[in-house]
Amino acid sequence: MVSLYGSLGRVPMNEEEKLTRFEGEMLPLMNDAYNLARWLVQNEQDARDMVQEAYLRAFKFFSGVRGETGRAWLLRIVRNVCYDHLKKRKVYSSDAELENIPSDSSPESSLQVKSEVAAVRSALASLPEDFRTVLVLREMEELSYREISEITQVPIGTVMSRLARGRQQLAEALKQMREKDLV
């Protein structure tokens, strides 16, 4: 059967160019996007869905020429997609989050390092979502206060205070875990 479109509907080149540029700029950031999503939604399958949704959303709004801010821009979309999802899932209570401690096995061979990593992961997972988000963005993604403020849509002062409290709480949680292990 002949193509139904025949000569109709030739796409302008810029759609393809847009895809090429988008993939060139955004696909290398997938690990960052996944890490953030994984820490926000706290399980692997949801994180995959969130990253895919974020990339499709990002592509729709992508206009090229983003340079340095590209990563913060993508992470903001990831964060928004995750928030929409969390709102639907209603896991804002800290109880629900505590049950969702990440269980991914680490490839590390040393048992000690392994348990250390597991301890850090579950300590971070146990933090309230606001604190967890800023810690992931600052310590893992090494973003500036301004970028974190744009991603989380709160003032820089709030970013600062969440970081301070998040760090204190994480230190406390880690300390408690170590003490429990020693008993």
Binding site: E16, L56, F59, K60, R121, A164, A171
Partner: protein, 266 residues
Amino acid sequence: MTCDELHEHLDPFFDNELGLAEAQKIQQHLEQCSGCGEVYAARLAVRQALQKPEVRFTSPDDLRDQIQAELSKQVRPAHQATWRLPSFQFPTWLMPSLAGAAAVLAVWFGSNVFLTAKRSSNDLLGTVTAQLVSDHMRSLLPEHLIDVVSTDQHTVKPWFAGKLSFSPPVYDLSDHGFKLIGGRLDYLGNQEIAAVVFQIRQHYINLFVWPKTEYTYLPDTLVQKEGFNMYGWEANGLTMCAVTDAAPDALKAFVDLQKQKHAETE
């Protein structure tokens, strides 16, 4: 600088977000005050813990491929300029009606293209469009056009609600010359779909609506088939296809209004 002042600025100092002058004051205080030095050391321990590469999660290997495939779908439909089906697997729900649709059209046009068609994805899409065209033609037979006669969207929409598992958008476009005249249940394969019926001057437009499936992707473009104009698109999990004998411009205007209304109400 007091210890309280230091605590206030410790995190921005730690994150290199302070100006040089302030940072120097903090630095001096930290060198002299062991209590604050411990607080600083605790920050550092947290950072070192979080920055272990093993603590991060790494994107699964297949996710990149999956996303690239999805992205290229955003571009490819129009690029290939065909009504595309993503899979070569023949949708079983279309099987029973394929012969029927083909026979109707074969008689209608004295052609048997559908019987000789190979099962490629284009042909499957052809089956979808052929069915919609035949649905449209059948609707033009006397007494076939409308099951619920109403120019009121608030009558037509609830009528569908009682009969279908999805809710087709029903908008009153009479201000723009597209008069809503009613609704009807129709079929695509053996699936019940909605047909919202509009009239522009002496022409009818059937707007077919059904839940999006992987077999019935319609690219967002005008198509001419068997003397009818068709325009398919997707919105909010629904696939829509308007079929009419009205002119392409009129159809395009109609589709644009539908999309606009849809965007306004979602």
